[in-house]
């Protein structure tokens, strides 16, 4: 059998580039426009007991030996943070709050895990300040954080 030679003698084979480049640019433009820089979001996981109407918040007897920490946030007219109080002492900044909490719970992670922190904040306070407070508590490994019911 004889195989026919087609186009014999043509030394130069030129590949048609144009359609490929068209498609490639289309793809490039699509991916460029859908490009979005996503900032990493972290979270504070909190567990709230299911609320039951008419019953008080659950209290357990055996943890009453530990002193609870009460952090009170004060708000100005426009909702900005006006002051922080740990118990009765005034604290100037979130860093100082973390240092104060550190002084209370010490280096023992067991102690930090057992102690309960209560956050009292007025309704008009900007939420970012509350997260900053939780952040300060998380830095010293306090795990039990209590929120007061709204209306304060």
């Amino acid at each position: 059998m004889k195989i026919r030679k087609t186009g014999a003698g043509e030394s130069k084979v030129s590949l048609e580039m144009t359609p490929m480049i068209d498609v490639v640019f289309q793809l490039l433009i699509f991916f460029m426009f859908t490009f979005k820089i996503v900032t990493v979001e972290g979270e504070f996981a909190i567990t709230m007991p299911a609320a039951e109407q008419g019953s008080a918040a659950p209290t357990s007897e055996n943890i009453t030996a530990l002193p609870d920490i009460q952090v009170q946030l004060l708000a100005g007219e426009n909702g900005d943070l006006a002051g922080i109080q740990v118990g009765d002492t005034n604290v100037k900044s979130m860093d100082e709050l973390a240092a104060t909490l550190k002084a209370i719970v010490g280096d023992d992670p067991q102690m930090a895990g057992d102690v309960e922190m209560k956050i009292i904040a007025p309704d008009n306070l900007k939420y970012g300040n509350v997260v900053a407070t939780i952040n300060a508590a998380a830095r010293v490994k306090i795990q039990k954080i209590k929120f007061t019911p709204p209306g304060g």
């Binding site: 996503v38 900032t39 979001e41 709230m48 007025p122 309704d123 939420y127 709204p150 209306g151």
Partner: protein, 158 residues
């Protein structure tokens, strides 16, 4: 003065395409790998509070509900409609009750006890300027409808 004619252009001036195509493929590969289709429920209008110890959890929550809250304290939920948790608590309660009911049905099918709260995680993405009272009311409403697990979203410090 006479200008010298250097290399008169040959007939088949072929442009070398290879480097350009290499670069273009590199770019396409980069943009392809950085593409993510997830996180469609996140609201771009919300400016999250910054917290450096908020760590991203490695495991995804069980069928989460996202609640986005604007700087005015309005809730953007499922349909994208805004509702004030203080003035219009009933709307939010109704939506959350539906979600809780669905979760309970799913838990019953899966054979999980639902008496101590549903397994759904409520992911709260509140703006840092939102009034705290509104955020708290949303949590309270969710708590009353049977949710116990909450995530407060924050961005890592940049």
């Amino acid at each position: 003065m006479k200008l010298r004619k250097a290399n008169p252009v040959s007939e088949d001036a072929a442009l070398d395409m290879t480097p350009m195509i290499d670069m273009t493929f590199q770019l396409i590969a980069f943009f392809m790998f950085t593409l993510n289709f997830s996180n469609d429920l996140l609201d771009e209008r919300v400016v999250l509070p910054v917290a450096d110890s908020a760590s991203p959890t490695t495991q995804a929550p069980q069928s989460p509900i996202y609640i986005n809250m604007s700087r005015e304290g309005l809730v953007y939920m499922l349909g994208g409609q805004a509702a004030d948790p203080v003035a219009d608590a009933a709307t939010i309660r109704r939506q959350l009750a539906v979600e809780a009911q669905m979760a309970k049905v799913n838990m019953k099918v899966a054979g999980v006890d639902a008496t101590s709260g549903v397994w759904t995680t409520v992911v709260i993405r509140a703006d840092e300027r939102a009034p705290y009272g509104s955020v708290q009311r949303v949590i309270q409403i969710a708590q009353q409808t049977g949710f116990t697990k909450f995530w407060l979203r924050a961005t890592k410090a940049n």
